[in-house]
């Protein structure tokens, strides 16, 4: 029962209604209380009561959202620990900023399946369900792992890796000074520490600023629109964003670049990628586009496969239908306003009815059916990583904050003339925080660094 206090978003990602952030642990009430502005103090309220108020950042005084807070004291709660649930307005920004504030206040982000795990370990869940709990942890972690791997290849990671390298070089140098005091390796001075940590800190701060401006927040479900040239992909994109962004012509293959656009469909943020037609082609320019499309397809959380109902199925389309069968794919039978020539039976034998939508993108007919299909797929858990991506971004932001704090501590320590082995603790903490985002902090790599960069030994 003496576990640390954890938090996570307990509801599915969506806009419109409400979102719930769940906090569990011995300090749940004590940590949330100072952030909750209300007539009541959460520390004094009886268990199983709901309270109206605002979540406010005590550092800036900014109100983040108007909320309802439910207090459930252990053991009569889901986890058998003290639990606080904060119901915020729906949508990404409110819930995300509340979670972020909680993490900044010393609450830890819950691991995948951790609430259920605690419920089980604290005897709230029946023994018979042990296997189900394990399956939940396993499936949630493998999803989280996939997301993490995707992010490790992503833009943020590319910016963090060099920062990590700068820090580990500094650390290795400090360690050599400590463990090999008589070697002819120059001592790391306070000035060197200040300069190195300062340079890294500035870059971390730039990243945080981007996050604050909402660039990271806005990441939605990566959605690829695919189909043969002229099946109507760009028309669909246009219908979705209701403005002409991609060039739409009757010549096959005019969409040569990936066009990105963000839309919100039934409260679900989608990042739409309109991709060039999937088709073998000789045209070099277009081939680049096609290759990119294939790449975009691999990364997509949701795929909209557009077929022209007025043409019969091509070989490539049959292949795509087969390839995408086990992915979160919705098949769109476009041009429903024209005479049908498509072999619909072949599509229906492969896909369930709720994942096939007939519409006319050009005329704007049947778009609400598409909305319903996407939302159904999303709510059933068919679309997975969007949720996790968004949650882990909150985690990223809190880790970047932690790294910035540690770097500032290191700089302050250097200026106060603290011994280098104390400052090292802060540099190492910053390195670990960045490593948690990128996904590796093996301590062996420090030793590798030491022995590959410095000639040591007796």
């Amino acid at each position: 029962m003496n576990e640390d206090t954890i938090a996570a978003v307990a509801t599915a990602l969506g806009e419109g209604s409400v979102a719930v952030v769940r906090v569990s642990g011995a300090e749940a009430i004590g940590k949330v209380a100072p952030l909750f502005k209300s007539r009541e103090d959460l520390r004094d309220v009886p268990t199983h009561t709901v309270h109206y108020g605002w979540i406010r950042d005590p550092a800036t005084g900014d109100v983040l959202d108007e909320v309802l807070v439910t207090v459930m004291k252990g053991p009569r709660s889901f986890t058998a620990e003290d639990v606080v649930e904060i119901s915020t307005h729906g949508g990404v920004v409110a819930v995300q900023s509340v979670l972020e504030l909680l993490l900044r206040s010393g609450i830890r982000m819950a691991e995948p399946g951790e609430f259920t795990k605690r419920a089980f370990l604290n005897g709230r869940i029946d023994l018979a369900q042990a296997e189900a709990v394990i399956d939940l942890i396993r499936s949630k972690s493998s999803k989280a792992f996939q997301v993490a791997r995707k992010q490790a290849e992503g833009a943020l990671s590319k910016r963090l890796v060099p920062l990590k390298e700068q820090l580990i070089e500094l650390l290795a140098h400090v360690e050599v000074n400590i463990d090999y005091p008589e070697h002819d390796v120059a001592e790391v001075t306070a000035g060197v520490i200040r300069d190195h940590c300062g340079a890294v800190l500035r870059q971390v701060e730039t990243l945080l600023k981007t996050a604050a401006e909402g660039k990271i927040l806005r990441e939605g479900i990566v959605t690829a629109i695919v189909g043969r040239p002229n099946a109507g992909k760009s028309s669909l994109l246009n219908a979705l964003v209701k403005e002409n962004r991609a060039i739409v012509t009757d010549i096959p293959g005019t969409t040569r670049d990936i066009v990105e656009e963000s839309v919100t469909l039934s409260g679900i943020p989608l990042r739409l990628l309109d991709t060039a037609g999937i088709r073998e082609t000789e045209d070099v320019v277009e081939r680049i586009g096609v290759e990119r499309s294939r790449g975009a397809l691999g990364d997509a959380d949701l795929i909209l496969l557009v077929l022209s109902r007025s043409d019969s199925l091509h070989e490539e389309e049959r292949r795509l239908l087969e390839e995408l069968k086990d992915r979160p794919t919705i098949v769109i039978l476009n041009k429903s306003d024209l005479a049908p020539r498509l072999e619909e039976g072949e599509v229906r034998s492969r896909y369930p009815a709720e994942r096939i939508v007939s519409l006319s993108a050009k005329e704007g007919l049947g778009m609400e059916d598409l909305e319903r299909a996407v939302s159904k797929l999303f709510m059933s858990g068919g679309i997975e990583s969007g949720d996790a991506t968004y949650v882990s971004n909150v985690r990223h932001i809190s880790l970047l904050h932690a790294a910035a704090r540690s770097l500032q501590d290191a700089i302050d320590g250097a200026e106060q003339g603290l011994p280098v082995d104390l400052i090292q603790i802060d540099i190492a903490a910053a390195w670990e925080s960045l490593g948690e985002i990128v996904g590796d902090t093996a301590s062996e790599s420090l030793l590798d660094q030491i022995f590959s960069k410095f000639c040591l030994g007796k």
């Binding site: 023994l127 296997e131 399956d135 396993r138 360690e175 011994p419 603790i425 030793l447 030994g457 007796k458």
Partner: protein
Amino acid sequence: MGYVAGEYDVIVVGAGHAGVEAALAAARMGCETLLLTINLDMIAFMPCNPSVGGPAKGHVVREIDALGGEMGRNIDKTFIQMRMLNTGKGPAVHALRAQADKFLYQHAMKETIEREEKLTLRQGMAEELIVEDGVCRGVITKTGAEYRSKTVVITTGTYLRGKVIMGELMYESGPNNQQPSVKLSESLRENGLKLVRFKTGTPPRVHKDTIDFSKTEIQPGDDKPNYFSYETEYSERAGEQLPCWLTYTSEETHKIINDNLHRAPMFSGAIEGTGPRYCPSIEDKIVRFADKPKHQIFLEPEGANTKEYYVQGLSTSMPEDVQLQILRSIPGLEQVEMMRTGYAIEYDAVVPTQLWPSLETKVISGLFTAGQINGTSGYEEAAGQGIMAGINAARKAQDKEPVIIDRSQGYIGVMIDDLVTKGTNEPYRLLTSRAEYRLLLRHDNADLRLTPLGKEIGLISDARFALFEEKKQKVEAELARLKEVRIRPDEATQALLASIDSAPLQNTVDGITLLRRPEVTYAHIEHFSPSPVALSEDMKEQVEIQVKYTGYIEKQLAQVEKLAKMEKKRIPDDIDYSAVHGLATEAKQKLHQIRPLNIGQASRISGVTPADLSILLVHLEHYNRVTAARSS
């Protein structure tokens, strides 16, 4: 030709730095103990550098002493130079290093062993383990003597199938031309232990009278030496310290080595064992760091009554003729006479993940291993394992639970946990960077960390423990007093603060607040407000450190608390990982192989993810509830 030669509680095979600590600990804990060694003249021999201590290693010596071991006392009796390193850095990394008179060191240790009541010292080569139903019952020597015991500790160092290599020359040998131990290796293997081949090396020794010291820089010891043992108050060695000397390799040295690389066994493929990265040979350094124009060479006396000098920095397995050329290319050594040739040595080691954290082998009950045989390198690392293996072999013989030092208690705990949980693919050396709680594992507080444990085990005398308690109590009292004492911004105070560039006081402050200022030391505080009772230097040091670094210390203590929670969650011995639903295949294999004692240890196994740990916790809870239901 076999005969029954004796019966003991504990047998220790090997009398190097691990063996002597193991044997002394077991005997002092009341066990009838036999210490077997191939050669009685090689007890606690230093086959490589004539020094003890340094960062992390010196910490281990203090820990051994805090537990009631011998290494600290022995070096305090026999040093020829004492130096505190890292004094410009924080208190956690201050490290004592001694140059030893290696001959005196051996003699002093032999004397201590011979005087120990329950300890029998015997020359003999153990060749075979007596194992009955998976339990080790003793050993048989080359001469057919059959010694039986409740437990056995093997500390064979580099003797196990040792092979010496110098250039093209290779022969079976232990260190310094001693007889190697060949058959014991087979016996270990036959009993199911997996062995690996490691390599280490030593530089040549030269004659003092042929060194031109005028071309080198002097490296003296400290004027006022510190000691390793908490018991040592004074050593007569303090007045007779000898310096070391520093010189460098030359361009010519590098050329000689490069020209003769084809004769270097490191590169010709003659060496199959894995060598340590942190102790490379000179040929290795020159190849790997080709752009470094010169390398440091320290000339260190091997003793007060010998002309032999150790050439630190020149470990090599080059052919003898090349070694002489290399030596003579170094400033100050142009005319030098080589007394012993440097060499590389290959030996068998036990894969240490086959051990429990008590250092008992998993496959053979009652068999413990310690020191270089477990894949480490260094006298201090060996001694640190030796004392723990000795303690646990004795406790097993006495039907007691093993004693395990955890990572937050000592470098000994860090080292053993690294070895048994992660294993090692090169000879393992302790570094302070291997400790995650470096600030807690200080040189100054080894007694506070471990002496109560030493007392509980039975290795610390009542008299010594009383002194320890007094120190602890006085430090606590002084900390309490400083919290209460008020220092006023009067003229004398402000003047003193100004003299050390410290900002003047605005208000009256307490002693703790003032001592937290980086430029203020305990000596200044004493000036403002002296302690009513006399405090020794190490008590004052303790007060100062505990005040100054409290913020960082508390941060690390909070981390330790988290670790302690995980270490408390024990995993039952009979767990069948293959039957744990949901564990990843890699985790199943690793957990099955290491068999961690608790969730904390499991979390440090590479390849075991947080999700695997969660699943394991759920499984254990399931198991506990089922067990509880059955028993009720």
